[in-house]
Amino acid sequence: MRTSSSRHGRGRRTVINAVAAVAVVATGTALLTGCGGDSDKGKSDGAAGGEQITLRIGTFGSFGYDDATGAKLYSEYTKAHPNIKIEESNVADGQKYWDTLKLRLSRDSGLADIQALEVGYIAEATGPAMADKWTDLGKTGGADVGAFLDWKVKQATTGDGKVIGLGTDIGPMAICYNKDLFAKAGLPTDRAEVAGLWAGDWAKFIQTGEAYKKSAPEGTSFHDSASGLFNAVISSEPVQYANAKGELDYENSPGVKKAWDTAVAAAKGELTAKLRQFDEKGTWNAAFKNSKFATVACPSWMTGIIKDQAGPENQGKWDIAAPPVAGNWGGSFLAVPKSGKHTKEAAELAAWLTAPAQHAKVFGVNGNIPSSKDTLSSPAVQGAKLPYFGDTPVGKIYSEAAAGITPAPISRWDGQVKTFLTDNGILDIEQRGTDPAKAWENVKKLVADKIDK
């Protein structure tokens, strides 16, 4: 700091000071406002033959590729391709992952070479705003598109026939039920008999609920959540939120009507524990532990949640039965953004990661049900069991459910409308006793008000 009195602070020295001050301030602001450029996109440009490159892959949740807890696919691939290094960046929350990815796509910066996409957002990714941001994996990378389930490929195909994502897993759905509670309520516990109670029709599922309620153990409900039931029913419908053209048309959809009516019947009949699935306060999780409900709609990824939440003290109590109607709830894709520097190598890696052989390896470690036809029918999948569920033929049940899936057309607003229908419609009826007709009107208003088409 300058301490000399102002009498000395005049003249040339001050001029120099002033200039220096300007210089410092200028560099300072340049540092402040000059935001960092793009992050490092690999160490080299143009990967010819033996050049060293780094491929980055962005995932969410658990894909089961990594070397730590997964199927060690990365180290396997880099052994075969010594010039390639793979780095994975993982985000736990799928919604946050997608929001960030959208922002990065709009700026074409900060993107990984491979980005995972959840089926709930795939229609947005293939939609007009984003379709051109992706590499056509049908043409680059050498993936065998025919190996995947046809509907899985269709979901990731744009209007002009580009395949922008290769399928990783799918979410075939069954019903998980608590054998203890079923026995106490005088219902059968054998999974074939249980499946027989409701085979073919969700209305029978509601009837089973009525029967359970008649002699239910104190403080328990038949089903966990009416909104979960809504999701299960709509997952099994050939027409969901969109019409055949892929336009949002939930108001006239027979599938939405059926799911709504079924969920309302369950809520009104007091068949549910009035919980919200994945509720952040952990009330739903706690209800698993305390055996508060007897059934839960069970996509293949739900088995891991039951294992974690019900805990070891409930091991052997849960079993899995075939659903009334087969459906698909969830699943993902790998996509390659066009703006990457190594799209060719990235497409090759994505093709390899989603090839049937690798699907089988991931299923063996992580239990993700594969989306390739041959793997589904392979003995490894067909004979698979999960320790927590005892001798339940998990692989068989889910591969059969997968065979019965009829894919529905999807629109880019599906995820949003689903949230309004379940969180602001069904949950409101269930928890606050709102009149269903009024709740339906409210959902319509919400969609009209909040979706900016």
Binding site: M1, R2, T3, S4, R7, H8, G9, R10, G11, R12, R13, T14, V15, I16, N17, A18, A20, A21, V22, V24, V25, G28, T29, L32, T33, D99, K102, L103, L105, S106, A129, M130, R276, F278, D279, E280, K281, T283, A286, Q416, T419, D423, N424, L427, D428, Q431, R432, T434, N442, K445, L446, D449, K450, I451, D452
Partner: protein, 352 residues
Amino acid sequence: MATSVRATSGGSPPPAAHPPAPSTGSRKQWPSGRGGLRSTLYRLDLKAVPYVFLAPFFLTFAAFGLFPLIYTGWLSLHRVELGGSAQWKGLENYTSLAGSEFFWNALANTFTIGVISTVPQLLMALGLAHLLNYKLRGRGFFRVAVLAPYATSIAAATLVFAQLFNTDYGLINTALGWAGFEPVAWESSKWPAQIAISVIVTWRWTGYNALIYLAAMQAVPQDLYEAAALDGASRWRQFLSVTIPSIRPTILFTVIVSTIGATQLFGEPMLYGGSVGISGGSGNQFQTLSLLMYEKGWVTGALGQASAIAWVMLLLLLLIGGLEALVSRSNRSRSRSRDRNRAGRISTKAGS
């Protein structure tokens, strides 16, 4: 800035016995031709350097304050989503807000939660400050203790309260059950939910406001109290007739700050509602304006509509600020007229 170092002074700070630099008046001695550059630089030094020193603040404010504000205004006139291009909409986002029941619902919720959290909070803060103003044992400890809630993170506090207010397992409903009351639906019913959220806000901010009041009370001259005590005024009477009028500007300040805080309420309802926090409960029963803005912008991706809500909130706050200015001005003129009437026994006008 470091001291400028000149070769002649050998790196040490210039000795005081330096030939005096030309003083301000000596500028006229320079012929304009020779000293043109120097005098220009000198003038610059005098006029421009202060601005240069202020520049970092203004530049950062322009980049991170003013630009986003104006850009948001521009966005609010368009239909735009993340990654897409903007389409001109004119005032449509604003007119559709006026016709949206969800907007009016959020506005009403913001207002009601604001009132039931701010009013008790400030009254309690006044009482607390008054108590802390007396000589009591462990005063320092209490003064720190009331600030503890303010130092807690919103998330932590809200999670604890959400557990307490849990309808099925919560301590509060359990206690009500012992007392023979029916359990209250602290989340799904409108008023209980709003009261619960207000409790969190009140808990967090009461101590903070109490300390501000305390600081103001410390500045009230002691002899006023002594005089009042001699006149036989009770403690309560002293509080009403001495303390409150003396700290009126401070009270006004806290009212304004709390109102701004209440208008922007976001974290508490969002975390309190858990998974349905963003929509303010399953029936939007505690959705505030900030939550509605967040939902529009980041859940449904309607950035234009979200920006419109942001601007409406800004206008609201400007309105409140304007009201505050009016009130404080009338207060000032009133107190001046009181001072003129030395008797001090003028009948108070309505609204004082």
